[in-house]
Symmetry: C2
Subunit: 418 residues, 2 copies
Amino acid sequence: MSVRQDVLRVAQAARDASRQLAKTRATTKNAALLGMAEGLEKGRKHLKHENEKDLAAARHKGLSAALIDRLTLSDKVIDSMAGGLREVAALPDPVGEITGMWRRPNGLLVGRQRIPLGVIGIIYEARPNVTADAAGLCLKSGNGVVLRGGSEAIFSNIAVAGILTEAAERYGIPGGAIGMVQTTDRQAVDELLKLDDYIDVIIPRGGEELIRKVVQTSRIPVIKHYKGVCHVFVDESADHDMARSIILNAKTQRPGVCNAAETLLVHRSVAAEWLPTTAAVLIEQGVELRGCPETKRLVPGVKEAVDDDWYAEYLDLILAIRVVADIDEAIAHIERYGSLHTESIVTRDVANARRFIDEVNSSCVFVNASTRFSDGFELGLGAEIGISTTKLHAFGPMGLLELTTTKFIGFGDGQIRS
Amino acid sequence: MSVRQDVLRVAQAARDASRQLAKTRATTKNAALLGMAEGLEKGRKHLKHENEKDLAAARHKGLSAALIDRLTLSDKVIDSMAGGLREVAALPDPVGEITGMWRRPNGLLVGRQRIPLGVIGIIYEARPNVTADAAGLCLKSGNGVVLRGGSEAIFSNIAVAGILTEAAERYGIPGGAIGMVQTTDRQAVDELLKLDDYIDVIIPRGGEELIRKVVQTSRIPVIKHYKGVCHVFVDESADHDMARSIILNAKTQRPGVCNAAETLLVHRSVAAEWLPTTAAVLIEQGVELRGCPETKRLVPGVKEAVDDDWYAEYLDLILAIRVVADIDEAIAHIERYGSLHTESIVTRDVANARRFIDEVNSSCVFVNASTRFSDGFELGLGAEIGISTTKLHAFGPMGLLELTTTKFIGFGDGQIRS
């Protein structure tokens, strides 16, 4: 079978299944999700056996320890996949919700009702746990899914998807609902991105390079997130201890993720007192600092930041620091260098808090909190399928609701237009 | 100046203006909209003078009377553009609305706040009134706009945009907010569709061919609507008079628009009694009927429908008719041949009404009402910038809300992640 035919077959089956899934009740979907969780736990031995094939190939290819770690289906990872599916089962079903209803002057009762998007395409890199996470969220929201994982995890992904499909079918979910592209041929992604008659949206999960390639190739709409250049702005009136605790958390609690802070902006009038002591703590925590001239003057030994530093998503223990004249300069800096991901102001001034919230249009804007709260679970969405830093359809962390849309519904008693 | 530079300059100016527009208060925007309306009225003579250049060229090229009619800036059209701007001024400002707010277990107060999309690109064909309509809706929703109208209306469009910009500037709106691509070079559209750093979404308004070209070329997300193959299903229990009145209205009240009905589905058990009399009325109204074999049997002289008829958007006084065995067959027909636009069931049966609403996932689904209500004004959105028959971001008629998105906002008192 050609690559094109293989991909088309998976997408068509997902599209067919999506019609039935859209009208499947929550009780059935939840039972299937619990069955899928149990399937993964009971299939532990099989999963590890298949995963070992990927690991052997990875070791043979000399992949880094970090990559091999992400690839490994340990007991802990299997438990967490199963746990994730159970959590999704416990979430409310978004499908069918009437989000509003109003009566028109002619008596027509009009409203909006939530429906699934249809078929979601997920293109992702090494982690095989994404297979279970994405399949669970798509199923719960009534969508078919077409999964295309990285070739490094192909045996693991096929094993996970096989167990999920088998379990779902036992509850009457059509087998095509959880589609997996099984060829590792690179052409498969190109073919997938042409199928706008079968797939409604593509969510790529991976590095910036993968995402740019998908955006440039795809005929299907893409929900994307290139990078997170997140800022913390310490305002004139900031509580010093709170500001220190927030930047430490935002930078060091998990530096490799997109909602970690990359640039610290400090109001000039607190810089002299606050910055040297804070810099000392950051350096003690292993953070490399790169500063503007004013920062260098206040904290001797800091490396000079160049223009690229203000655009940088380090994903590492590196922090760019700039002293700014006021909130206007801070907002202008974020507008110029930011990536629309997440920004936080530390302030005691209500007017400045309000200005920051109203004028900074990144996907998450916080007052007196760490940038690390920009996350589907932390924001209370119950789950996260990805994050969008473009404004169309979804902006910021995406949960189950973002896998749905609304249609208009109307109830009349014979209304016609005149 | 090259085409590329010309387009880039307009888009950059709109992007710059959009930052200020996003924080402009409703009072200012509304005053500007009223000023723009007045400007059009006062500029009537100039508008007609410029419009005459387009009309002369159109007559010279031998364009059809219908096209010339759509191109003409009559007093009535100018009044209606001004009236439209005043109506938009009277609508509530969507920007800044907090659409929800909740408290997390750690005390963080989290919510969603509505913000503009940024810059909207509108690509449209002959009608110069779209220039004013689109500019008004984008300004009200805090977005910059880049307008690219048809070459046939270039003098009219430049005149309208010039008056709007001059009026808006008098109220402090930056001049670039209402951007108009002034070259008629066809390459301009291709250049425009590359500017994903400056334009957030493209809304094409025109025929299917224009829209397909835009979708295939664009690097910017497109909100699109190919066609409206709208269905009316007359169920077994339908009130006969109501069903007749609805199909007559849906087909003949304005046959050239996308929410007019194109296919009538009739339940077998009412067909013998209801269809011949209804067909007679439709034929009397000048409607050409194309039917399935059963329809032909019941209504002698009806032309036989071929497969293409079930896919057809006639936009004319032609109606395809199919007799179906039951609601399942009706829903299956809509699923197979429909365009996800608008469908209506005529029924007295509450279970079937419910099934139709729940199982038909077109952008508008009505019970006992004409398909012609699928319209931003009729649904109570207050305005319409276009219609989407794809599910991402917007589905169905789009009003001011669809020109916005939401960001997450969070208020803490020092929360950090552990």
